[in-house]
Symmetry: C2
Subunit: 733 residues, 2 copies
């Protein structure tokens, strides 16, 4: 009616964060006509109604993550957000009553509790063991509160504002500046939490804190967080939400901690941005920094494998994926605010649910209208660093193959010592894996769900990665501070059709040693799948001991070399990750080439490597010194060499198939007959490989001059090679 | 036309095996109207056309399984069967021409080759290394030949009959009676092969050999097959196809070698039976032995987990399933000839393809008409032995849980020493696994795809199974002959709703020792999933050393006891399978109860076991003494005890959930607080367990008297218990 019309144009009327009055009207008129939205709504109604039936539980905080009080408060904030939304969409008072009563219970509890009894956090929360979780609570609860704000009677609203929300917002900001005033995903949550409740309560002071940070010095005795990260970054001058956007992402939308944390961090970025877009459109937050927030969603989507799972670089629990609630929210936001890319809709379809707001309605409607297209994953180099000049990750995609090489920044407290490491996927999943983090997030059995000590002693160490270990020690001697000071150096990136290349250098991981890795994904007409060429060149003093691990995923099939297995296993070392490895078997290599085939799920894979005199291969197994069985017993292959300047040259081939219902193997043997290095120097590598069918291929690369037009002539006792440009791939010369 | 009508009623007209003239007419008029059939047809056309384009390859036999000549001849017989079928359905001559020319190539080859050069088989074939594969060839090729028989000109047909098929049939029968005249799946293939080509050629001699066996003595020097199985069974008086039906299956349709081999064996049983039903209806082969062949298909279907994979008991490659070509054929046969059970149609839907014959058309039509219902898997005891009195396997199903206990015959050459062993599944797959066979079927990398030596040294041994090892040695001292002489003893089987029980005895595996295992699947109202109670009672001399392994599947989460991990691993023994086990950790147990929780895929699992003073638990890992990396690095838990008469009492609980996209664990801890044995004797076991919520349950079982009405009174220092019937489950007494 008239009153409704008036409310629709009243700028103080709620909801105004992720739902708006106009949006709610549209949703109401669309009910029953948009399957994905209707299905999500009915799932959420079922979930919330079960909680209503269960009754309100607001326990005195006591437990760590995984424990009852932690999980209950966490569940409460999700449900409050949902109950508010359902009140708006269905108009059923029961949701508002439930939400109000729970908020009143929190208002009773809040003044009676001090800091959470668990003391392990650098910024202890009140409801939870760390402020981070308290901020999570406020980000979600603000959205619920927004939905019943106008429905509440004034005394109740004022009581909640004064006795719960303002003190709560102060707790996670001015009372904990070491949490709020960082450039870090923790602070993004803090900023968004304070800003969102500020928007709901029209509290300009909170909104200003959230956008621009606090003018408060962090107490001098708090310098590190629990993960060893610095509270104050070198040269940090500003804080708050806008500074987070400036500093958290590269111009390519890459987040230095990697996609697992980007996924986590994106939620507060986007949800607060939505609120700002609605309540403070004059800020043009979604246009800020060239629309970086929307771009960052696509950057995140591009850091996934065929199952939609994020590349597990840095601290990252494997399996986190586009199916997560954060991405369900983000993908619809990107669709709605980011130009209606129909490729995003295929992801929405796979997610099978949408956020219950305007963005979710729009994407669900578009799906129902059949607008979805397959998302186009492309090869891309994603630069790291706020200015985009601090390393990168390179992603090469060809058919079902995805290769990821990392030469980015370290990633602060969550970084791994994995410069020039790589991952390889095909449509079945992992082919060459990164271990990920040693952690079972939220699983109380496993040290309360936090990082396990094996995360430091194993998962972060260089030997846990598919990259070179020199003299048994990790990059940067395993020192985060040193690692944070420099980044990998992108040398060359070529995305294309038949030949794609990523090449990068690392000159700081080991003093006085230069590393360069060049990986090419090439289509070879005789092979079923694109072939990976891996050239790892090292300039180092004679007598260096190199270990180059390859964490293949699957079951060993056969090798052209005979391994000696060990009848007694002992750990391979005392530190730097070696203490967690058993050497199951080794071989002192004979001849010029090593090859090994393994099988996983339904395919065969072969690595072929050039052998130098004295090289060894070691078949390893993770699991030594693991008193709590925290580590997976995964296999690995270490190529060991002692020498000076050298090149490790390998091919990775995906071939054939086998399934257990037909028991019929196809193409189970490698097609590669031999491989050799024709030339190696600081400036050039030239390799050749021959297929069993007789075809010979030669790949040459210039390592110092990345000009696309330079002419190269290389000559040594073995022959002479000439080409133009950075690389050259030739057949049957 | 008239000629067509005449042919339709001509009993000598072909095809007459799995396709009939009438059937072909029906298929032709249904084309384009039955999606599953049409889809299969178009897939098969694409497959066969690709082979036609490739041209005919009939190489001189040379390779073992996995090698080129083996795989080529194998591929040829599948394609010939399909080409014949396509000729009948499409009427396109190109298929007949291709098939004829390939047969002529075989007719050229056959007289020029002797036995296959590989000498490892007890019955060497000519095209393949073993007669078994030659018989496979003939079973499939006969079907193709049947389809073009009437199309061929008479001289060609006579040439093929005389120069290829009759000599071929003689080779796999009279020239290799040690292959043809056994009661064994090898011979079933042989019988069917000879019988089917006999039907096609109207060769009554061959048909008689196939049905009734040969009147030929096996040469005295051939007494064992390659797997150590006896060529001639004790007391064996007959051979041939009817004898195979008599002796291969129990009255319940159980096949003593287990479902993996039953699946393999069923194809020749059923395909030859179809041919006989069409060509010699007077035999009433499908009614033979109360319609046993159709019953056996349902028995096979019931031996699968939630993914349709067969229970991997005995020699069995895991993953073989209802998706196999043999079951695609069998399920439609069961539907068409076995009373149109709509439950079978849901399996046909999952298979996604049908055989291109009358049966396939019928099931595809029924699916298209929406007649499919969910197949009803039920708890059942499947008796072993031709008379059904030689042990059994017990299958208990409740909700998504499936428990299998094995107390059947040994299973001859393919048997494992696993009396009273069990497997446990839920909807995610394996919870407690059997290792299966150590073999990569057809994968040439792995010893040509045959059984690996670790199959004998590990997979068959008792310690590789979830059953009791006494004094470190396998059942029957690992002797197949001894094991074959007796079977497990069914004691009690109850399928029902809230309480289901399987109990069996084993009195021969160890001289002078009586074993009895009683497993109950009970619904406990406080628990999410049915609970498994496991009571393994032993009557044995004092000082016996017991090892009870539990091959849990997944990642160790936590235990109520502290394990000591080993920094140096050495094999746990020298023989009987122990030489392949590493002890990763052990604990000398404290208190009265052991519990351990693991996680797999998306659920938590807890074992709770009653502890006796001096008991140990050992966390094991498979993989020692494995020079060719043939074994999976799977974990196990061994409960070790030294004593005399005793009971091992445990609970297996399926609980909670966790997924990597939500990172939210639910109910991750066991609900069981304690467990104790209240009474144990030769005649009774009484156990009690208490939940963390306080409820107490008591389970009592009579071990000697299985009368359903007998009254039991048990009294000892701990108390007195009275009940009626075999078992008693009480709450809160
Ligand atoms: Ca460059
Ligand atoms: Ca065999
Ligand atoms: Ca009985
Ligand atoms: Mg890593
Ligand atoms: Mg170090
Ligand atoms: Mg077994
Ligand atoms: Mg033995």
């Amino acid at each position: 009616g008239n009153e409704g019309q008036q409310r629709l144009t009243d700028p103080t009327a709620h909801p105004q964060l992720t739902l708006t009055l106009q949006g709610v009207e549209q949703i109401k008129t669309s009910l029953g006509q948009v399957p994905l939205f209707d299905q999500t709504l009915s799932d959420v109604i079922a979930e919330v109604d079960a909680e209503l039936a269960n009754g309100i539980e607001v326990p005195v905080p006591k437990d760590l993550a995984g424990g009852y009080t932690h999980e209950r408060h966490k569940s409460n904030f999700f449900i409050m957000q949902k109950a508010g939304t359902l009140f708006q969409i269905t108009g059923d008072d029961k949701y508002a009553v439930y939400l109000r009563d729970m908020l009143l219970a929190y208002a009773e509890l809040w003044p009676t509790i001090g800091k959470h009894p668990a003391e392990r956090s650098y910024a202890r929360g009140k409801l939870f063991w760390q402020c981070l979780n308290d901020a999570n609570w406020l980000v979600y609860t603000s959205q619920g509160y927004d939905c019943i704000y106008d429905w509440l009677d004034v005394p109740t609203r004022e009581k909640l504002n004064k006795e719960l929300f303002r003190p709560y917002a102060e707790y996670v900001s001015v009372e904990n500046p070491q949490f709020f005033n960082r450039i870090h995903n923790h602070s993004t949550w803090g900023n968004a939490a304070v800003g969102m409740i500020g928007l709901v309560m029209d509290d300009e002071e909170l909104i200003n804190w959230s956008l621009y940070g606090l003018d408060i010095e962090v107490p001098g005795d708090i310098v590190k967080d629990n993960d060893g990260g610095d509270i104050k970054l070198e040269g940090q001058k500003e804080a708050g939400f806008l500074a987070q956007i400036d500093h958290s992402f590269s111009p390519d939308g890459y987040y230095t901690e990697g996609p697992y944390y980007q996924r986590y961090a994106m939620y507060p970025f986007l949800i607060f941005a939505e609120g700002l877009a609605n309540k403070k459109p004059e800020l043009k937050i979604l246009d800020y920094r060239d629309g970086l927030l929307i771009k960052a969603i696509n950057t995140l989507i591009n850091q996934t494998n065929s199952a939609g799972e994020f590349f597990p670089i840095n601290d990252s629990q494997k399996g986190m994926s586009l199916a997560s609630r954060e991405l369900v929210s983000a993908v619809s936001i990107a669709y709605y605010y980011g130009g209606n890319d129909p490729g995003l809709l295929s992801i929405v379809e796979d997610q099978g649910r949408v956020p219950l707001n305007n963005a979710g309605l729009a994407s669900a409607k578009a799906v129902a209208e059949g607008k979805a297209k397959k998302y186009q994953y492309k090869s891309m180099e994603l630069a790291d660093g706020a200015a985009g000049d601090e390393g990168a990750i390179g992603i090469l995609r060809a058919d079902d193959l995805t290769l990821v090489m990392k030469y980015a920044k370290h990633g602060m407290g969550h970084g791994h010592f994995d410069r020039l490491g790589f991952l390889l996927y095909d449509e079945t999943g992992e082919v060459i894996q990164d271990y990920g983090a040693a952690r079972w997030v939220n699983v109380e059995h496993k040290d309360g769900g936090g990082y396990l000590k094996e995360n430091r002693s194993w998962a972060k160490e260089t030997v846990a990665h598919n990259t070179l270990v020199v003299d048994k020690d990790s990059h940067f001697d395993g020192n985060v501070k040193k690692a944070d000071q420099t980044a990998g150096m992108p040398y060359y990136f070529l995305s294309g059709d038949d030949v794609q290349i990523v090449s990068a250098k690392e000159q700081n991981a080991y003093p006085g040693i230069d590393l360069q890795r060049t990986m090419a994904v090439v289509r070879i007409e005789e092979l079923e799948s694109p072939l990976v060429i891996d050239l790892f060149s090292v300039q180092a003093p004679e007598g260096s001991r190199y270990d180059l691990p390859l964490y293949y995923v699957g079951e060993f099939m056969s090798s052209n070399q005979k391994f000696q297995t060990n009848n007694v296993l002992s750990p391979m070392g005392k530190e730097s990750g070696y203490q967690h490895l058993w050497a199951e078997a080794q071989t002192t290599l004979e001849g010029d080439v090593f090859s090994m085939t393994w099988f996983n799920k339904k395919k065969f894979y072969t690595v072929t490597s050039v052998v130098e005199l004295g090289d060894e291969m070691i078949l390893t197994r993770i699991g030594a010194n693991d008193p709590n069985f925290n580590l997976r017993r995964d296999p690995g292959l270490i190529h060991r060499r002692t020498g000076g300047n050298t090149v490790f040259a390998s091919l990775y081939e995906i071939h054939g198939s086998y399934d257990y219902a037909s028991e019929r193997p196809l193409n189970s043997f490698t097609s590669v007959a031999t491989m050799k290095i024709l030339h190696q120097s600081e400036a050039y590598v030239v390799v050749q490989f021959q297929l069993k069918t007789g075809e010979r291929y030669q790949f040459a690369c210039s390592l110092l001059n990345d000009s696309k037009t330079a002419k190269h002539t290389v000559e040594d006792a073995n022959g002479q090679w000439q080409w133009q440009g950075i690389y050259n791939l030739k057949k049957n010369i």
